[in-house]
Amino acid sequence: MTEDTRTPVATPETPTGASPRTTSSSAGLLAGPVGRNLGLVVAFALLCIVGIITAGDRFASTDNVLTILRLAAVVGVVSIGMTFVIIGGGIDLSVGALVALASIWATTLSTQAMAADTHWILMVGAAVLVGAIAGLVNGVVIAYGKLVAFIATLAMLAAARGLAEIIANRRTQIVQDQDFLRFFSGSPLGVPTLVWMFALVAVAGWVLLNRTTFGRRTFAVGGNAEAARLAGIRVQRHTVALYVLSGVTCGLAAVMLMARTTTGSSTHGTLLELDAIAAVVIGGTLLVGGRGTIVGTVLGVLIFTTLSNVFTLNNLSSSAQAVAKGVIIVAAVLLQQRVAAGRRQRRSSKALPPTAAEGAPAGASPGVPAP
């Protein structure tokens, strides 16, 4: 109802010309996100060039590109859910544990027996359902229990992994259903199924974030929850929805991991939350919420996966790779802050109304209603 009144609500600038009045001439698909993520694209291109120079054909082959995409798929799917949560002003530290729990639940002997009698899609359904329910618990505790997101998801991280270990008796559970494995290791049109899944989730996430009211509400809630509530958005219900979404992506990631490794295990997804958060952050999403892009997240995931691939192709140690990862995260965030500061200067020189989350420093109260 009040979605379109721009003045009292702090509508943060959405990436693709959803508020074309503020960006000058650039409308259309590519100008917005690519322009904003130009630094990321440049970094990714540089990384690819380094890969080609050092490893030549082994890097630039279709096989290798597909391997990189396949490896990026699991982190990618989780990162997309994480993007939503972070834009909405929260954080989800439990994603790795939820992936483990979902993969365990879907591969227990009883679930596999049921799937053998009906169809392997039951295992997929079980994983997604477990992820969704755990996300629901997260969301309810955070939105209605008023617990800080960090603490609530931290607790879920510990609890979920413990539950996974109990159910699995700490054993690795092997997927017996050959149809399941065959489906997910296939390559329709030459592209692995897992990559298709990643692409579908990314596109769906982009549409959800940029073309639906759900997405706009997410930006509003993340930018200024109080103003959003005053504008009529049901903040608590929306927050729960965000965490359920994150849980669903965890369930999907669990299915992909089960397909890749042919097992469900309580050790799956260890430290996945850190990888996801890192990818989301270098993708341009602010940790305080209110701003972010799916394209940036996807680029972030690709950068890290390509980095690990280039390092292995050159037989470099994994410790050096970890250091490089840390340097990249810091460099990317620093660059974004400077670009955002530069843009803010340019914009204020054009005397346009300040938007809420434009590079807002952490802790500053965003969204001063325009007069």
């Binding site: 391997t67 490896l71 009883s110 209605y144 539950l163 054993r171 042919t262």
Partner: protein, 347 residues
Amino acid sequence: MSARHRRLLTSTVALLGAGVMVTGCTGNTPEATGSGGGGNNAASSNDDTGDTVTIGFSAPAADHGWMAQITAAARAEADGYEDVDLVVAEGTNDVSAQIAQVETFINDGVDAIVLLPFDGAALTPIALEAMQAGIPVINVDREFDDPDAARVTILGDNYGMGVSAGAYVCSQLGDQPDAVVAEVAGIDSLPLTQERSQGFSDALADCGLDVDNRVAAEFTVESGEEVTANLLQAAPQIDALWNHDDDQGIGVLAAITNAGRDEFFMVGGAGSANAMRSIEAGDSVLQATVIYPASQAADGVRLARLIAQGKALSDLIDVEVPRQITLSAPVVTADNVDQYIDSAFES
């Protein structure tokens, strides 16, 4: 609180309750765990029932099939003796928690302690304390820093494991000086991984080969799959691959199958039942595996009983139990897999 809030709270509680109940709906029927340690040991007069001894047992958390088998084998061994009362402490990877467990054993005045420390150096002081209190300590697998901290040390042979793997690779490829050998290691920061790698490269050097591509996983299935996928891209042609650990080997094999590569043969490590079944079936690149015995703790329990009852190792002339025993690392191939498959651990 409004009616709607109450409704929501109730529904959440109901949901959680349902979740707990649903947990009961899924589950694993108890698997037939491998018999803890082969029972084909010759009976000796040492097995005659003596005084009842209380043995305290502490090992890390069983989050790896090998570690789970360690504890299971130790329990099974103790059950086989009427005169052994085994007190098993909760498996934990937390060093301070394990120290506390040993302290409890000392306070309870057990007759012997069998200890697989999560970290040998960190548990050395408390082991010394136990020895000084007159309680013999059997150190299993991960060695203490101080020789006085244990009465008997029983170890697997990490370096020897690498040597066995390297020797096997040499036996298959020794006549090809430019063969490409790859290695998938475990957690690189652990000394045992470094020892295994060292043994491997030393044995390869003997026949003029060396490790051309090396990646490190983390003993988990997921990391095994990830690093191997990248490794296969790095090396378009491989002749032999050694994977340190059969649990992460499930992921390694998945990556190999996904990439459709089969021009090389693979050697595993640790000796899981999965790997042995694979070797027996002969349907994958896995041709052999090197055993890292999961029976060490069971041996430790036997030795603890002997020491507490004042006996000696029966087949040795010496009247005292030896200070250190290092188990061998045999290579299991399709030819001898039936000897070892019964005592292998499930992943």
